[in-house]
Subunit: 279 residues, 2 copies
């Protein structure tokens, strides 16, 4: 199969590497608004060739839309306009607005709303790595709106990446994503800003930052271009979770002020249960 | 040298492994309130033998106090009571109360207040691992209060672990620790609780949790026995940082409510600067 990637960054690039390696793709085509990204991706053998979007759509059997989510909303209807029997998937972290944008499109059936839940804090084609998707979870949303053959192709694609597939409704997906992904990013961004604010006075923090700190603020390296549109599109769910998170932190604050260390200890015991869901 | 470890958990155990391996210690002795920990530590060859505290202090050249910080405050004066020329270090995450507890002790000079800034989210002797301290930072506090020979021994010990040594005043240390370590733990505990609260309704979160989420909540597996006394002893500094962190999160909340995504984007750009301090 020929697979075209619209957007050759961390996700598009990593998927191009794996689909070529595992034989799902015989040819990989890259499309990117930034010609440097195409050059880099070809030099690094992430894709076989670069093409303008229209040509790539014509040549491809499968089209993977892997841009920031605000760009997806603009591009997906245009892509479907040009599609005949090709299959189109996105890899976005939000689904509600995207699915609404093509709800009544005559080619809606060729689109499968997909969210492979894998990533790193880095971006661009230089961040693309092999095996990014191995044994991770991929969500497929509202599959009743996709053609059976398109769905079958996407299942084969995701299984070739060794992904576990979970089916969710669009609104369920966006709520879950807020909990298991979006809030982690806001928490990291905020923690990084808190410490950087302090660091204006104290260079020492640089020397002292240890593994635990790095772990909690790792995601704070993530790009604004990718994450701002996610927060925009999933604003209501993110606000819900953020409110809960702030309330929980405020509970710790109150307990510290009251010196109720017994209750703090029991909250920590409760939090330890997270070990069950960590992979 | 014979080195005794009071407390054979993650830190004491890991240090025992490395000091024996690198030749600093010819014999390692374990002391632990829990006899199971001594058995485990001997079976895993983490220590050479277990002894009651008094005997271990008599036999040792260097004594490493590696219990939770509330226990340190009780034990350190008792240990110094029994010390002649031995060197005593602690490995605690807070320093102010501990140093105050022995300020006027006639043997204060034999004690070097030490904080090797390394760890994982696990605890107990089964969590002890080789190379935990390699190329990490260790703080030494108020070294003017330690005897010159004791200090020299501790420098040799830390250098044998390949640690970079930073000298700080006690109050500086406790402030920095709140920023680069303690707040990360509170943030993780709170994030875990937020998601677990939601999970009561939604099992799906388990399937969907991905790498980014795991990274931010990893520290939430840390034990209450270790962390509650740290928050207790460093309460004022932790409250300061927690207030700032809650304010930063509230700023994101306000911007989301106002739909000011331009400002959110510029905050993310600012947060990206954390890449400079991550190791």
């Amino acid at each position: 199969m020929t697979v075209a990637f619209i957007g050759i960054g961390l996700i598009g690039g990593s998927m191009a590497i794996s689909l070529k390696e595992n034989g799902f793709a015989t040819t990989t085509i890259g499309v990117d608004i930034n010609p440097d990204n195409i050059d880099k991706a070809i030099r690094r053998r992430i894709i076989d060739e670069g093409l303008p979007m229209q040509d790539a759509i014509q040549r491809a059997d499968v089209i993977v839309l892997a841009t920031p989510v605000n760009v997806m909303i603009q591009l997906l209807p245009q892509i479907l306009d040009q599609v005949d029997q090709q299959v189109v998937i996105d890899v976005g972290s939000t689904k509600k607005l995207l699915c609404e944008a093509v709800k009544n499109h005559p080619k809606r059936g060729r689109f499968v709303a997909t969210h492979p839940m894998a990533g790193t804090e880095f971006s661009g084609p230089e961040a693309a790595i092999p095996n990014l998707f191995d044994h991770k979870c991929s969500v497929i949303c509202d599959q009743q709106n996709s053609d059976a053959d398109a769905l079958k192709t996407v299942y084969r694609l995701l299984e070739s990446l060794k992904m576990n597939i979970v089916e969710l409704e669009v609104s369920e997906h966006d709520t879950h994503s807020a909990y298991v992904s979006h809030i982690s990013h806001i928490s990291s961004f905020a923690l990084a800003l808190t410490v950087l604010e302090k660091e204006k006075n104290e260079k020492r923090i640089f020397e002292l930052a240890s593994g635990g700190f790095s772990s909690t603020v790792r995601l704070a390296k993530s790009s604004a271009a990718m994450w701002t549109p996610i927060f925009e599109q999933n604003r209501d769910n993110v606000l819900d979770v953020l409110d809960e998170h702030i309330n929980t932190l405020a509970q710790f604050r109150t307990l510290l002020i009251k010196k109720d260390f017994e209750k703090i200890s029991s909250l920590i015991d409760e939090a330890n249960a997270i070990a069950r869901i960590l992979k």
